[in-house]
């Protein structure tokens, strides 16, 4: 393929080389008051860091998170079925590895990051207790297998090359229902009710479902709000403004309490499904507004050029305006997805136990009552780190996409 011809190389001006001493003098010690500020801040930073590190090292509560890692990750998912979340995760890791080999770039960064984290966690997991009746692989072995799937998938995809493109896209589309099927069971597998689900698994399912489902819905709402048909436009405006006028908690409560009243047979709707619906409906309204902002930023000439070329309304939207609008709002959308990911912790209120809920529960376990100061600091630091890894990954992805778009503009 000759498609990579004449892309511009780095546009950064060559950085001027200055010595470290020179830099320090110019930026930190240029005047007497800068000297004072530098010294004081340095003292504060060193104090904070050293006391934090020494606390980390001596804190007695770390075992709480690690001995309960099963609860944090899967909550009350049956111990004898734990191989199923593992299989689901292995599937995703394999697809991620293959995608990394095929598409490179940011996907490879994510896959590599995941592999490194897997290996690191693998070593940590040596210390994890085996669970009685566990049919799954031990944690450390599974983490190493994840790393192997990531790296192996990457290598394999590089060997096979572009033939893999469509199968892989289709596999990704099927991955979501496949994961749900593996976790929930049904066809041949014993059913694991969603009320047993929880922990990080639940958080991820809520977030991914919310993102995957609210995206098309939000785009449709945004297009509908610009529609020339008054009925559609009014409906979209009403919907968007109504949802944006209330907090997520309210929508969650409405999903949990009102939905069963309105829908025939609503009580039988799974609590998790209700939460997913609520998160999706909520997120879609914000997404619609963001996408609309992007659509408005597209100059009229773009549509005119497309129409003059004979593209119809649908083609113009799908090929010209929407792609440009979405590119324009990538940072905002990813920011919104990060917020959604963290906001899923609100489902604790309607009785679901996500990562945060599991942590709260662990902190209250009687066995930690004797620990001086309790274990909540250590436990919440662990889950904060988990939230951070995912949020940071998303924000990196956003940055990379932005850079790529910027590069095509100059």
């Amino acid at each position: 393929m000759a498609t990579e011809v004449s892309r511009p190389t780095s546009r950064r001006a060559p950085r001027q080389q200055i010595g470290l001493i020179e830099w320090l003098r110019k930026n930190l010690f240029s005047t007497w008051y800068n000297v004072i500020i530098t010294v004081v801040l340095l003292y504060v930073i060193v104090q904070t860091v050293t006391s934090f590190v020494s606390w980390m090292v001596t804190a007695p509560g770390w075992p709480a998170a690690f001995t309960n890692i099963k609860l944090l990750l899967t909550w009350t998912y049956p111990v004898d079925q734990l191989w199923r979340p593992q299989a689901a995760m292995a599937l995703v890791m394999l697809l991620l590895g293959l995608s990394s080999g095929l598409w490179g770039g940011i996907v490879r960064m994510v896959a590599l990051g995941a592999a490194v984290i897997s290996v690191a966690l693998g070593f940590v997991a040596f210390t994890f207790p085996d669970l009685p009746g566990q049919t799954s692989l031990p944690g450390w072995l599974f983490m190493f297998i994840c790393a192997v799937l990531l790296v192996g998938g990457d290598q394999l995809a590089r060997l096979v090359g572009n033939k893999l493109r469509w199968p892989l896209i289709i596999a990704w589309l099927l991955a979501y229902p496949a994961v749900i099927l593996i976790l929930r069971g049904g066809i041949g597998l014993p059913v694991v009710e969603t009320k047993l689900w929880g922990g990080l698994t639940l958080t991820l399912i809520l977030a991914v479902s919310g993102i995957v489902l609210s995206f098309p819905l939000g785009v449709l709402l945004a297009l509908g709000r610009r529609s020339s048909l008054p009925v559609i436009r009014t409906f979209c405006v009403l919907y968007i403004e109504l949802i944006r006028g209330v907090p997520l908690v309210t929508v969650l409560f409405m999903g949990a309490l009102l939905l069963p009243l309105f829908l025939p047979g609503g009580e039988s709707i799974d609590a998790l499904v209700r939460a997913v619906i609520a998160v999706t409906l909520f997120s879609a309204a914000y997404l619609a507004e963001n996408v609309r902002g992007g659509l408005q930023s597209i100059p009229k000439g773009q549509v005119e050029a497309a129409r003059a070329l004979g593209l119809n309304v649908v083609q113009t939207t799908l090929l010209i305006t929407l792609p440009q609008a979405l590119r324009a709002v990538v940072p905002v959308l990813v920011g919104q997805f990060i917020a959604l990911f963290k906001d899923t912790s609100l489902v604790v209120i309607i009785g679901l136990v996500d990562l945060l809920g599991a942590a709260q529960n662990i902190v209250g376990q009687p066995e930690w009552l004797g620990t001086p100061g309790g274990v909540w600091r250590e436990t919440f630091l662990v889950i904060a780190a988990i939230y951070w890894v995912f949020s940071f990954t998303m924000s990196r992805i956003s940055k990379r996409i932005e850079d790529q778009i910027a590069r095509s503009r100059h």
């Binding site: 011809v5 004449s6 000439g301 003059a308 083609q315 090929l319 010209i320 095509s408 503009r409 100059h410």
Partner: protein, 249 residues
């Protein structure tokens, strides 16, 4: 001159009227363009030149009068509009290239989606056109990485890729730096000499003199005067034309 082929007009505009709200933008505009003819439209800013040529491919809707392009009458029927748009290519003052697509993708998009060509056919044609407008080596760049003159040549190639019978140009060189005007005009001249039917809104009088078969002068929504370049430049009849020419020549 290049006024060859069948003498049946390819564009017929009869008493076209258009209003923006209460503002009467086009007043009884009538024009017939023969196959292969090159017509230059000029006139002061706000005189309705853009509005007029944009009615020909229905970027603007006219309210009264008839427009017939290559035997197809412009009605509200979307099939007629689409049929006409397939016959008519357009080049804009602001280029209006699609910034998220490469030059090659810009050119092949409509042939693939509208003409249902295969990617291979469309790309072969695109390279041929890029060769013709002299920027084959830029095929894989994005519009934002090209100069204004190059962008406008891509825009011309993009319109030509649909194999139109008529090309509309709306001040194609007005947004260009002076040193780039020539490269675009050269492409347009070659196109004019190849027998393409062209309707150009432009103030490039050198271009008009060299390749136009006819010059149409518009003012306040009306066609005030039309004639061959010779008549138009040496012997304008209308006072407003004289005033206009004295200002731009």
């Amino acid at each position: 001159m290049s006024g060859n082929g069948s003498s049946e007009p390819i564009i017929i505009c009869e008493n076209v009227n258009k209003w923006y709200g209460n503002f009467h933008a086009l007043k009884d505009v009538s024009l017939r363009v023969k196959r292969g003819e090159v017509v230059v439209i000029c006139g002061p800013s706000g005189s309705g030149k853009s509005t007029f040529i944009r009615t020909i491919n229905r970027l603007e809707e006219h309210q009264e009068g008839r427009i017939i392009v290559d035997g197809i009458e412009m009605t509200n029927d979307i099939r007629n509009i689409d049929a006409i748009r397939r016959e008519v290519g357009m080049v804009f003052q602001q280029f209006n290239l699609f910034p998220h697509l490469t030059v090659l993708q810009n050119i092949t998009l409509a042939p693939i989606w509208v003409r249902k060509k295969t990617r291979k056919e469309a790309e072969a044609k695109a390279f041929e056109l890029l060769e013709r407008v002299g920027i084959r080596e830029q095929a894989y760049k994005y519009p934002g990485q090209l100069s204004g003159g190059q962008q406008q040549r891509v825009a011309i190639a993009r319109a030509l890729a649909m194999e139109p019978r008529i090309m509309l140009f709306d001040e194609p060189t007005s947004a260009l730096d002076p040193e780039m005007v020539k490269e675009v005009l050269d492409v347009m001249k070659t196109l004019a000499r190849s027998g393409m039917t062209m309707l150009c809104v432009t103030h490039e009088m050198g271009f008009a003199r060299e390749v136009a078969d006819r010059i149409v002068f518009m003012d306040q929504g009306q066609i005030v005067e039309e004639g061959t370049p010779d008549q138009f430049f040496t012997n304008p009849r209308n006072e407003r034309t004289k005033l206009f020419l004295s200002q731009i020549l």
